[in-house]
């Protein structure tokens, strides 16, 4: 038996993850020991403290390049950029989750997730003003997984963090206060399909280990460069691994869960999933392909082209036919996954920095857009049907304009962050020799612009529906979250250079 060498762990470099982990554990303790009346506010404080602490830690660490915990984690430019993004998204989502103002009927989450929908038990819980406070620790554990995911420098850590981020999300999807059966259905669907895709990932991991004799990303890269190993194992493993990650990204043909789950989940959780999960999963995908398989670009790019084209086309075309705003945004998130894949396929430095920038802009706009969805309400919850939104912009111009801004940003109209992001990714695609892909991207963007602008036209130029939905006055938390998204969307559209430079300096990966 060989001697054991304890790995050196650079705890300072792990500070962002440690902050989040500590906040999650404190959250569990709060749920155990703090009296019920104080729990909700204590949880919000712990979660926000942890997220702000992580953000500060990321800022302090900027410029670090280190591989730590015995090559398991790589703390480099892209990792820190993504972790910072995830922390900001976490703050935005926690604020949406935290809003329990009366206008929102006491928050988006079930009084007690265990009580049967429609039972006396459930009514008693709602009357007593209860709410499932476990939301916050679950959210923080998911954030923890998302922070480790793009930092993982070997496949095992990648898998563990994938599970750490997924398991809490499965639960969170089922906690909606209204339309609980739909929400529980979403949770079961997401869990079953997610477990299935995890199995694909694990099988791919095993085959790649068989190929390279190591699970570290650099080790696999070294093995691909020698070319003296079994290529069948390599390509089977790479394919299966990609299926696992493309599922989390929501790329076609692995996107079927996206509309159902985004639709059924409580809207603050949808905001979190559509933004932070996508950022984390793309971070991991970028690292795996740029570090381990960059030398095999000729082999995997044709398949990736197919996935990207399919994702863009399916996302845009299906979004056109949706009659529900939440589902429409879900399909639009599929289309956006396709656009970011163009940056991944570019396989050069500007592809990496363009994808990082796109992820930041897209995800913050998305949090804001779903935040607005929580405000447009019927007596029985959110009014997400498109027909109910007719004339909304006339009756409440502020919310209407804010939502219009988010839609324009998602469509990629100049002077919004969406345009800058798309430009960065598409120009990287052209420089990376993927011009036909970029042409498909531009065409599908035009299709996508149609359904975004259709909603704007409906809000501002259609007659308001009689007894239309109420636009709730947002509580401070929701307002803060939406305001943050508005600010970022405008600033990154008008004056994107500092953040673009930051993304440029973040590249390349260090391993």
């Amino acid at each position: 038996m060989s001697d054991f060498h304890s790995p050196s762990i650079a705890y300072t470099a792990l500070a962002p993850m440690l902050c989040i982990g500590a906040a999650a554990i404190v959250g569990v303790l709060i749920d155990a020991f703090v009296p019920r009346a104080l729990r909700w506010s204590a949880q919000i404080a712990a979660a926000l403290l942890g997220l702000v602490g992580a953000l500060i830690a990321v800022a302090v660490l900027a410029g670090t390049h280190t591989v730590t915990a015995d090559t398991a984690l790589s703390i480099d430019g892209p990792t820190l950029f993504l972790q910072g993004t995830i922390a900001v998204l976490g703050i935005g989502s926690v604020l949406l989750v935290a809003d329990r103002s009366p206008a929102l009927d006491g928050g988006a989450f079930a009084a007690q997730a265990a009580s049967t929908p429609g039972s006396a038990d459930e009514r008693a819980g709602i009357q007593a003003g209860r709410i499932q406070t476990e939301v916050f620790p679950l959210l923080m554990f998911a954030v923890l997984g998302m922070m480790i995911f793009p930092a993982s420098n070997d496949l095992l850590v990648l898998f563990v963090s994938l599970e750490v981020l997924s398991l809490p999300l499965y639960l969170l999807c089922g906690l909606a206060r209204r339309r609980r059966l739909l929400s529980q259905e979403a949770a079961v669907k997401y869990f079953l399909l997610g477990a299935f895709s995890s199995a694909f990932f694990l099988y791919g991991l095993a085959l790649l280990y068989g190929y390279a004799g190591t699970v570290s990303l650099s080790g696999i890269q070294a093995a691909t460069l020698t070319g003296q190993h079994n290529d069948t194992l390599l390509f089977l493993g790479l394919g299966l691994l990609s299926v696992g990650m493309l599922f989390k990204i929501g790329a076609a043909p692995f996107h079927n869960w996206v509309p159902d789950v985004y639709h059924g989940a409580p809207t603050p959780i949808t905001a979190f999933m559509a933004s932070a999960t996508k950022v984390a999963a793309f971070g991991a995908l970028l690292r795996v392909f740029y570090v381990s398989f960059a030398g095999l670009g000729w082999e995997w790019r044709p398949a990736a082209w197919g996935v990207a084209i399919l994702t863009m086309v399916v996302g845009s075309l299906f979004a056109v036919t949706q009659t529900d705003v939440k589902r429409m945004l879900a399909y639009s998130s599929v289309a956006h996954a396709g656009f970011i894949l163009v940056g991944v396929i570019a396989l050069n430095r500007s592809g990496l920095s363009g994808s990082l920038f796109y992820l930041l802009t897209y995800s913050l706009t998305t949090v804001g857009a779903f935040g607005v969805l929580t405000l447009v309400r019927d007596p029985d919850g959110e009014a997400t049907h498109l027909s109910r939104w007719a004339g909304l912009g006339r009756r409440s111009p502020v919310i209407g304009s804010v939502f219009a801004l988010f839609l324009l940003a998602l469509a990629g109209i100049p002077l919004t962050s969406g345009f800058t992001g798309k430009f960065a990714v598409f120009s990287a695609g052209v420089s990376g020799g993927a011009t036909p892909l970029v042409i498909v991207g531009v065409i599908t963007s035009a299709i996508a612009a149609f359904f975004y602008i259709r909603v704007i036209v409906m809000m501002f130029f259609a007659e308001p529906v009689a007894d239309g939905p109420i636009v709730a006055t947002p509580g401070g938390a929701t307002a803060a979250s939406i305001a943050m998204a508005v600010a970022v969307t405008i600033v990154l559209g008008v004056f994107p250079q500092p953040i673009l430079d930051m993304a440029n300096h973040a590249a390349p990966f260090y391993h």
């Binding site: 054991f4 304890s6 790995p7 554990i25 569990v28 749920d31 155990a32 049967t116 069948t232």
Partner: protein
């Protein structure tokens, strides 16, 4: 690679063969017990027992058991190799046990250990 393919073919072949052989050769006598899932506890669908919900106490206890079971599985090899792992191993194990303990405290405080 060839052994994997051979095994896969054998596996699929055996499954297909068994199903076909079973449906051709076996007697078909109806029995209600045959429609139930095998040794899987209470039937949750299409409706739980007499229209009520079925108790999850057993599952809760079983899940708690598994958590501590896993803890023991990690503790054993650590204890055996304690001398070699040294201070690093001790600190890591204490961190792990603390994390499990926090969950234990949560379960205890929120009534997960009470039967009724």
């Amino acid at each position: 690679m060839i052994p994997i393919v051979v095994l896969a073919v054998l596996g699929v072949g055996f499954a297909v063969f068994s199903i076909i052989a079973g449906s051709l050769a076996g007697p078909k006598r109806f029995n209600k017990a045959k429609l139930e899932s095998y040794e899987c506890g209470i039937e949750p669908s299409p409706q739980a027992f007499r229209g009520h919900r079925f108790p999850v106490k057993y599952y809760l206890t079983a899940m708690l058991f598994i958590v501590f079971d896993i803890e023991i599985i990690f503790l054993y090899p650590w204890a055996v190799a304690f001398n070699k792992l040294g201070m690093f191993g001790l600190v890591e194990m204490i961190l792990f046990i603390l994390a499990v303990f926090v969950v234990y405290a949560y379960v205890w405080r929120r009534g997960g250990l009470e039967w009724d």
